[in-house]
Symmetry: C2
Subunit: 199 residues, 2 copies
Amino acid sequence: MDFTAAPLERLIEQFEKMPGIGRKTAQRMAFFVLGQPKEEGLAMAKAITDACEKIHKCELCCNLTDGKYCPVCSSPKRSRSLICVVEDAEDLMAIEKTNEYKGTYHVLHGVISPLEGIGPENLTVKELLARIGPDEVSEVIMATNSNIEGEATAMYISKLLKPLGVKVSRLAYGLPVGSDLQYADSVTLTRAIEGRKDL
Amino acid sequence: MDFTAAPLERLIEQFEKMPGIGRKTAQRMAFFVLGQPKEEGLAMAKAITDACEKIHKCELCCNLTDGKYCPVCSSPKRSRSLICVVEDAEDLMAIEKTNEYKGTYHVLHGVISPLEGIGPENLTVKELLARIGPDEVSEVIMATNSNIEGEATAMYISKLLKPLGVKVSRLAYGLPVGSDLQYADSVTLTRAIEGRKDL
C-alpha cells in the first residue's frame, strides 16, 4: 500500500504479527501510538526493549523473571516440597491469581508435540528432574492442559518421576463451578462422574 | 501482582493502554513478544521508535508521513483541485482502499467536540483554509463521520469555505451496498429515501 508511510506500515506489520491482532486492530494500535505524545510511544518501545533484554528464565523453575530467581522461587513463604508443573508462564499467572497455591512451580515452556517437532528435550524436563533430588520434593502436580498434548506430556513426566519416589498428581477435571449441568460437554461430564467424591 | 517480573508487568501495562486491548490480550501479547527470538522483539521496539520519530504531518494535507509531503500529495496523478476532508489518517486509508478517489485529502486530526474541549483551533482548519487560495481548489468533499461531532464539524467548515467561492459537498448517506432493507435503522432509511435518485 503505497499511500502509507514506510515507518507506519512497518509498525502495523509488527503489531499484526501478534496473536489475536488482525490488520484492522494493528492499524488502530499504530495510529494510537502515533496519536500519543512522542514520549509515550518511546516509553512503549523502551518497555519492549527492556522486557526482551532483562527477562529470562528463573534458574530454578524456568518461570520468566528479571532476577536470578523468580518472585515465587525467592519467596520464603512458598513450600519447596510441592511443585506444580505448568506449560507456560501464563498458566502460572492463572494459578497465582487463585491466591490458594502455596507451593512452587516448574514452567515447561511448551508441551510434547511430535506434529510440531517438539520433544521432551525442547522443554525444561531435565531442569525439573534435577530439582527432585536436592529439593526434597514430596509431590509434583501436573497442571498441563487437558488436551492430547497436555495429557501426553503429563503422562511422560509422571513416568519419569515415579521411579524417583515422588508422588505425582493431576489437576481435577469436572464441571466448572457455577456452570449448568445440561450445557456441559459429555467428556467433562464423564470425568465429573468418574471423579465423584463422597459427601 | 508481585509474582510478575517488573519489566514484564510494565510491558503488559503499556500494551493495555492501547484501544481494544484488555488485560488478557495485553498479557498474551507480552508473552508472545518474550516467546519470540530476542531480535524479533527488538525489531518491534525499533519499529515503534522509528514511527514515533520519523512520522509527522504532511506540510500540505496534514496526513501522516515520513517525508515533507505525504505519498498522496507528492503523487503527480492526484488532482489538486479536489480536496476530501477526513477526521484522521485511518479514514484516509479507508477511502484510498476504494482505489476510486483521485483527488487529494485534508486530515483534520479530530472533530470539533466542545464536551472534550476540542475547538476548530485544535484541528487543522487553518491549514485547510490556507490551501484554498493558491491551490485553485474547485470542490471540497466533507467526509467526516455522520455522528453529531462529525456533522457539526462539516457544517462549521463548509460555512468558512463557501464565502471563498468553493463548492462544498458531503458524502452520500443511505443503505450500505448489499444490505437488507428490513435490517436498516430508521435514520439510515430516512436518509436513503430523502436522497433517492431518478432511474
